[in-house]
């Protein structure tokens, strides 16, 4: 007698044979392995009305249609056709393309990536997208996806200006820590509020990106300003199957959409290198956030698409010519321009989007080109202040990321030489850049979109340098106050304050139980530096910082100072005392030379002789981003739209409603 197990195996064999026959039939036709814009309908093959709509657009917002099609062995793709709601999308040779070379490794021979560039749809509602492809033997395939056009209704007065203040990595704990340090508490009540605390509407934002619950800054920012989920490291594009990082299918940014349809200007202000993910994710389209040369070039090259009028931050290394196309040895002028991370666009993108073709030109003097295009260039705070209110403004205040507030302020106080070590002793504070940017942008009677980033909240939280990121939040909040002042005087302005994600799993543990002098004398043991120092609950009491006339703590090393822990930490030595020097920034072109090469290399060696080892929960040298929801506060015209718990892409459509349909 045969066992039941044998009978089951027989059934499996029959099923497998049947599937094999079906598979045998199916290989006689091409297959669609990617259909863009992304949709659950294509990903699952099921038309489930309860599934989230992944791709959404404002009426008329432009985006690319793209599919990856694999023909059968020996066949080639000979034709393709996109259709929306069953109606064929007209394809012209200049705005569409079939790419069969330069594809990602591992794809079968003759795989084709087919595109229709800069499509748009004005009709609100959910639309069906199909692609039909034909291979050389006449066999065809049809794949179906979906996207939605979100309707805008006339509701009242529109917002003329939109200011996005993005504290990179700024979760709720970061905001709270800055309030404790800058304002103080008395008997449980805050003695003052941060500027962002005074915004009348607050919501929570879900920050996940297209491919992970924990986003990085590229999609984290881009999701806000084009309404679509992007993948890790990508900005203004969806993933594709080609190796070129600048040919991915695009979606139109808020800046591009409002410049094209309303004539608004774009401003970008950051304390980071301007090529960094957050600033670039307002204007640049690339699947590789690290391509600094191409990113910097595209700011200028496509200014007619974005309306770029103000660009300020660090990042001079991408704007200076590098005739040798080499950074080893490092050119004396600090340039890190390389042909390898520059761009040349394909003709269908150029024709479809009206984009500049670009060039791989490490020898380009981009500052000169900005100047020739009418931008006033400033290189330090003094020049910024004396520049007046030009029509267009480029400010590059460091080779790469600017110094943080902690070091800039101590430089101004004459108690630190860090900014001198970096070679940039006269860097502006974020609020000084924000104030100038708003004055320049306000000259456009059609209004503006301005993103102001407090970048090193994130960068210092990665490094678990608590004193530095808390002061970064204080600096950021002073820029918030500048924006609020403008919106108060110009009530047709919408201001939001939020973050792209949280960094570090930062938490306010409590406060030191000892004086600063006692802390300085502690042995670097767990028993001494943790058990005798960390005060929780009522032992924490209320740390009292003295705020100097410049708005920052006279010192962060007070008696009974606030103590920060990290839930997403790498190994670090914790001494609780402020670090006299920042940890090395690998983005600085001269980080390998004196004096910067003597700075602490990373948190796993910093304070090794003075602190105790806190074992990390993640590998590597830095704390990481987390998936926690982050707060968003809103002020001005349309602020009431920003309440409840929302997806980061929802924010884009609230901008659209406020700027186009208006609000009651």
């Amino acid at each position: 007698m045969k066992s039941p197990r044998f009978a089951l195996n027989c059934v499996r064999a029959v099923v497998a044979a049947t599937l094999g026959m079906v598979a045998g039939v199916s290989v006689a036709a091409p297959t669609v392995t990617r259909l863009t814009p992304p949709s659950e309908r294509f990903a699952t093959g099921v038309n489930d009305p309860t599934a989230p709509m992944i791709a959404r657009f404002l009426p008329g917002q432009r985006f690319d249609l793209q599919a990856t099609i694999r023909p059968d062995a020996g066949a080639t793709i000979t034709g393709f056709q996109f259709a929306v709601d069953g109606v064929t999308v007209p394809v012209t040779a200049s705005t569409s393309g079939i790419v069969t070379t330069g594809l990602n490794a591992g794809l079968p021979a003759n795989t084709a990536v087919v595109s229709k560039r800069a499509y748009s749809n004005n009709v609100p509602g959910i639309h069906t997208l199909t692609v039909k492809a034909t291979q050389s033997d006449g066999q065809t395939v049809i794949a179906t996806g979906s996207f939605e056009v979100v309707g805008i209704t006339n509701q009242g007065r529109p917002a003329k200006n939109i200011i996005i203040l993005l504290g990179d990595g700024m979760g709720a704990a970061h905001r709270t820590a800055a309030r404790i340090m800058a304002k103080g508490y008395a008997q449980g009540k805050a003695k003052g509020h941060l500027a962002m605390d005074t915004f009348p509407y607050t919501g929570m934002v879900m920050t996940s990106s297209l491919d992970t619950i924990v986003t990085d800054s590229a999609p984290g920012m881009a999701n806000y300003v084009n309404g679509n989920k992007q993948a890790s490291g990508q900005e203004g594009v969806w993933p594709d199957d080609t190796a070129d990082a600048f040919d991915n299918p695009r979606m139109e940014y808020l800046s591009e959409y409002l410049h094209r349809t309303q004539g608004k200007s774009l401003g970008i202000v950051t304390t980071a290198d301007v090529f960094d993910a957050t600033p670039a994710a307002n204007a640049v389209h690339t699947s590789n956030r690290g391509n600094g040369t191409g990113i910097a070039d595209q700011y200028l090259d496509d200014r007619k698409l974005t309306g770029l009028t103000v660009l300020m931050g660090g990042g001079r290394k991408w704007f200076l010519p590098n005739a040798s196309n080499s950074v080893s040895p490092q050119p004396a002028n600090g340039s890190q321009r390389r042909a390898a991370n520059d761009y040349v666009l394909s003709s269908d993108i150029v024709s479809g989007w009206g984009a500049a073709v670009g060039a791989k030109d490490p020898e380009r003097d981009l500052i000169s080109d900005f100047s020739a295009a009418g931008y006033t260039y400033v290189s330090d705070k003094s020049a910024l202040q004396s520049a007046g209110v030009p029509d267009k403004l480029l400010g590059l205040f460091a080779y790469s990321n600017m110094n943080v507030a902690f070091d800039k302020i101590n430089g101004r106080r004459g108690v630190s030489t860090v900014v001198n070590d970096y070679g940039f002793p006269d860097q502006p504070m974020l609020e000084e850049m924000a104030d100038k940017a708003i004055k320049v942008l306000a000259k456009n009677p059609a209004g503006f979109v301005l993103t102001i980033e407090g970048a090193s909240i994130d960068k210092q939280a990665h490094l678990m340098d608590s004193d530095r990121w808390i002061e970064e939040v204080i600096e950021f909040d002073r820029a918030v106050q500048v924006a609020k002042n403008f919106a108060t005087a110009n009530p047709d302005t919408l201001v939001i304050v939020t973050a792209d994600h949280e960094t570090g799993g930062a938490s306010i543990l409590g406060a030191s139980k000892v004086t600063n002098a006692e802390l300085q004398g502690k042995a670097n043991t767990v028993a001494s530096m943790r058990n005798e120092v960390v005060g929780t609950y009522q032992d924490a009491k209320f740390p009292k910082y003295t705020i100097a006339a410049d708005g920052y703590p006279a010192t962060t090393d007070i008696d009974n100072k606030m103590l920060i822990g990290y839930g997403a930490n790498a190994d670090r030595y914790e001494a609780w005392i402020a670090n006299a020097q920042p940890t090395q920034d690998s983005q600085q072109p001269f980080v390998g030379a004196a004096p910067l090469n003597a700075y602490p290399a990373n948190p796993s060696v910093r304070n090794a002789s003075t602190g105790y080892l806190v074992t990390g929960q993640v590998s590597g040298d830095q704390a990481v981003h987390t998936a926690t929801d982050i707060p968003l506060s809103a002020f001005g015209r349309g602020a009431a739209l920003f309440t409840g718990v929302m997806d980061n892409t929802d924010v884009f459509f609230k901008f659209g409603q406020a700027a186009i349909g208006g609000v009651k």
Binding site: L58, P59, G60, N122, V123, P124, G151, I152, T153, N154, Q155, G156, R157, P158, K160, T261, Q262, G263, P445, A446, G447, D492, T643, G644, I660, G661, G662, V663, K664
Partner: protein
Amino acid sequence: MNSVKMIVNAAVLGLASFTANAYAGYNFNFDNAASGTSANNAAVNPYSNVQFLSGFVTADLDSNGFEILDPNGQTVPGYTHWEAYSDSDIRVRNPEEYGHGAAPSVSNALDAMFDQVLISFNTAQNLSSFSVQLDNSNFGGFNSSILFLDAAGKTISTLSFDQFANPGAIITGGAVSGVYGIVLGAGKLYDNLNITTVSAVPEPESYAMMLAGLGMMGFVASRRRR
């Protein structure tokens, strides 16, 4: 926010209008005053029956006086009406000064760039035709619309258009009866506004119905204030 409800406008101003002028139509080219002049200046708007205001859409109230909202706290289509801001400041401007191209006629147009314009009538208007010309830019967004409102501020007719594809287009509409307001969407300037009306002489029994209706509207307004 202070606002003047359309329904209150219609009821209170409507009473006064029984003795007001009856116009066969309204024609505006917005060129009889300098750029920046109020659109309600007599040189621009000679009609005592018409006001240019700013407006917004808001939720209706239920029988208990609460706003009718969906579970997400949003207004529900069909349960909304338009109201006028009390601080309306609608002006005529030269579109060229704002990057919107030359005015379709002469130098000025009606400025709705950053403020939707609500054209408010003291009395019900029976429109036989309507036309307005868009500025010569391709700004102004997509799927823009012009709304025709009844006494309660509810939309009774809609004209949709796409300025991006049709800069400078003349938007025309046909007959609409009982119009107390017209909403011109924001993001653009408008020129050559022409509204032709059909005068309807009320029958004696209609006077009684209108008076009863006005009384009812007053009642509704009163309940809303509670």
